[in-house]
Symmetry: C2
Subunit: 340 residues, 2 copies
Amino acid sequence: MSAAPHIVVLSGGVGGARFTRGLLHHLHAAYPDGVGGTAARMTVIANTGDDAWVAGVRVCPDLDSITYTLAGISDDERGWGRRDESERVSAELAAYGVGWPWFTLGDLDLGTCIARAAWLREGVGLGEITRRITDRWGVDIQLLPATEHEAETLVRLDDDTEIHFEEWWVRYRAKRPALAFRQENIDEATPAPGVLDAIANADTIIIAPSNPVVSIGTITGFSGPGGSVPGIPGIRDAVLASSAAVVGVAPIIGGAAVRGMAEACLAPLGVETSAAAVARAHGSRLSGGLLDAWLVDDADAASAGDTGVPTRARPLWFTSVDETAAIAADALELAESVRR
Amino acid sequence: MSAAPHIVVLSGGVGGARFTRGLLHHLHAAYPDGVGGTAARMTVIANTGDDAWVAGVRVCPDLDSITYTLAGISDDERGWGRRDESERVSAELAAYGVGWPWFTLGDLDLGTCIARAAWLREGVGLGEITRRITDRWGVDIQLLPATEHEAETLVRLDDDTEIHFEEWWVRYRAKRPALAFRQENIDEATPAPGVLDAIANADTIIIAPSNPVVSIGTITGFSGPGGSVPGIPGIRDAVLASSAAVVGVAPIIGGAAVRGMAEACLAPLGVETSAAAVARAHGSRLSGGLLDAWLVDDADAASAGDTGVPTRARPLWFTSVDETAAIAADALELAESVRR
């Protein structure tokens, strides 16, 4: 049996977390001798644009969604946070008028956010903090923040105010039209320790089926005719320079976002909400874009012809962990088929 | 009916909080028309030497004990914190190795500490923060921290290390012999806004039956032949300059501390654990000390003769709120009897 390839996944929160769980499930089955060493063979680079200081604690929704999902402690029914949650502290904070009243942190989740804030104030980097958190939960992959800088995503509204991404997403459910997205302090941001190495040493890079603008674009950059997000400086170039096969898994099925509210994010950039339009925006590596290949749902097979990116179709609904593992396996196989 | 006198109480945590509840109970009964204005007539100045940053949140045990007790939400059986508590967040922090594993904050209590830390980081003073917290709970007295500076009490041990008071008190239950107490940054500390005014305008000042060294001494200063704590600069002088009658309620009954571990605090200063010895250490105002009068338990009546402080005896056990109110009423009457 051959050694497991080194796989790097670029991921947002919930959708990416579930994809990652399926991929890990597949790898454990495909490389049973490699389970102990899976950490060295699988790296997830997570979006940190959603991160926020709330009531003095540091919230990193995507990093924690991935950790909780891989650790088997996520609340899959609700779609975020930990199972068996309670919200006693958040109720107190709301009564004191501290924090965001529309942003409820569960007590268990808050434990993670308090620990992270305490470590950050001690000067520990977010990468090392993430290692401590995944270690506690026995998560045997390498989970890296895209950056240790606070490059949070801001949303410009049609009244020309700018609000934190979480406010737009959670408070307004992305119903207030966005004019543009901005990554705060992005010029000073650099990839977190390990990110460029992981990309340089990857055999396969998978773009998880996460929001292409505010989850993936904030890592790699994403442009449309109407606007763009720059991504973390250096990451896109590293992916372009990598010898890895880069496969994207479409986050849109038949014009609907699988999870989240993709259309509200794509429209301001002038990108249609379709798998093909997202592939075109990512671009083919043959013409300076990101993608060597693109995995879409059967529903989008017909419209995949004109993207310039080799595309394969299969059902993409995450109906179970086994089915998600099969999707991940197909993504890996697709990567093999296009490997240069 | 005459207007309620303006009463200032100097207080530590649990014992002082219960005394304060009894006093407020008495005042509400004695001055029924004055209930709405009780806030203007009763000020509690609380010790802040026990305060600590724990996992990035600000813990103020004495301030919160007083608030919770007056609000009727304290856990009187356990003796600290809030009723109906849970410790879900603390369990998470312990699992992450963040904070003090021997110092468990309840979830509801943590809500207060997170709110306070968030406000402090916004630059709000501890006095205003305390007002916000008491306001939430409808506590109709003025509760002031002795200082807004972080003048935390440190304990020097016989191995010449120095630890935070909370570590000595909670982790070691004061079982490790203390050589001395120190108030950190005490030279820079000043009384919190309102403290000197409250003292200057007081009709009666009551020293609550709190630990004379680490709860009262850290406010007013306290000296014995073996050592001293300086108190918050300015507060002792203000009490000495006040025209108020100053009455102390003995925290020792028959040689045993009513609550807490007074002996472990008095011994390093060379002060015997008795009501009379504490009165002598406070000193009579006639000879430059703090006390105009001293209220002791019947068990200590016989030994009260040689303190130089006018002393009255009555049962001092807080067997109920009504009984505590009667003790407080006697303290006020004692103040009237010695008023100059």
